[in-house]
Symmetry: C2
Subunit: 131 residues, 2 copies
């Protein structure tokens, strides 16, 4: 469809240095990342406030989704075409595993809501840590 950069430019906003840096970190990340992690990886090249502002912009543009894992802060990941999934977090070792099922369509039918967003995350102990 459109690349992330195209989506940014089509939205009529500038493709600035901080925005490029945040996008690069998101692309390189293999897991949803926190604001703090993003900021750490781009050090002095972008302010923490700009990371927050950029992530919120990306959310509005449909580039990024929030992944709440009950850690006291949010994580974010790029939205990939045709790849909708959720996570389970091992509270012992921090491992994140993908879950490829989702109830969103079913819930939309049941409730007659127009669903804007949803979270569906699990916390537990993985087989390796559970002894």
């Amino acid at each position: 469809m459109f690349t992330y950069i195209e989506k940014i430019k089509n939205a009529g906003v500038k493709f600035t240095r901080p925005r490029k840096l945040v996008l690069d970190v998101l692309k390189a990340a293999k897991q949803p990342v926190s604001i703090k992690e993003i900021h750490k990886r781009i050090r002095k090249n972008a302010d923490l406030a700009s990371v927050y502002r950029t992530i919120h912009l990306f959310e509005e543009l449909g580039i990024v989704r929030e992944v709440p894992l009950g850690e006291g802060y949010q994580r974010y990941e790029l939205i990939e075409e045709g790849r909708h999934h959720h996570y389970i977090l091992c509270v012992e070792c921090g491992k994140l595993e993908d879950i490829d099922v989702c109830l969103a369509d079913q819930v939309a039918k049941m409730t007659h809501f127009r669903i804007l967003s949803h979270s569906m995350e699990f916390q537990g102990v993985c087989r390796g840590c559970d002894g």
Copy 2:
């Protein structure tokens, strides 16, 4: 099984005034409530810090569960025997509707995790607000 009060006393902790007040508010609530709401309802009879401490105790005792609805703060509700459900929040009017489906068992089988907790909440626009 056990009443909430029995669970508290069996845990070897005191059943204090703030704890009774918080429990009463939770029992009276028809929806998951925020810490701020709980505190507002018991006014000068318990400190905000005690409400936080009490809710965390109740979580540990399995009396209360956290309901994250993406509002920037948490809500909490009493855990009722045999009544496990989730919510969809209308972002227009604030209406909360119950959802009586859950993927926890299926996810446990798929991932071989021992699931400790999970959240599965939806945000959208209800039929009434969607025009």
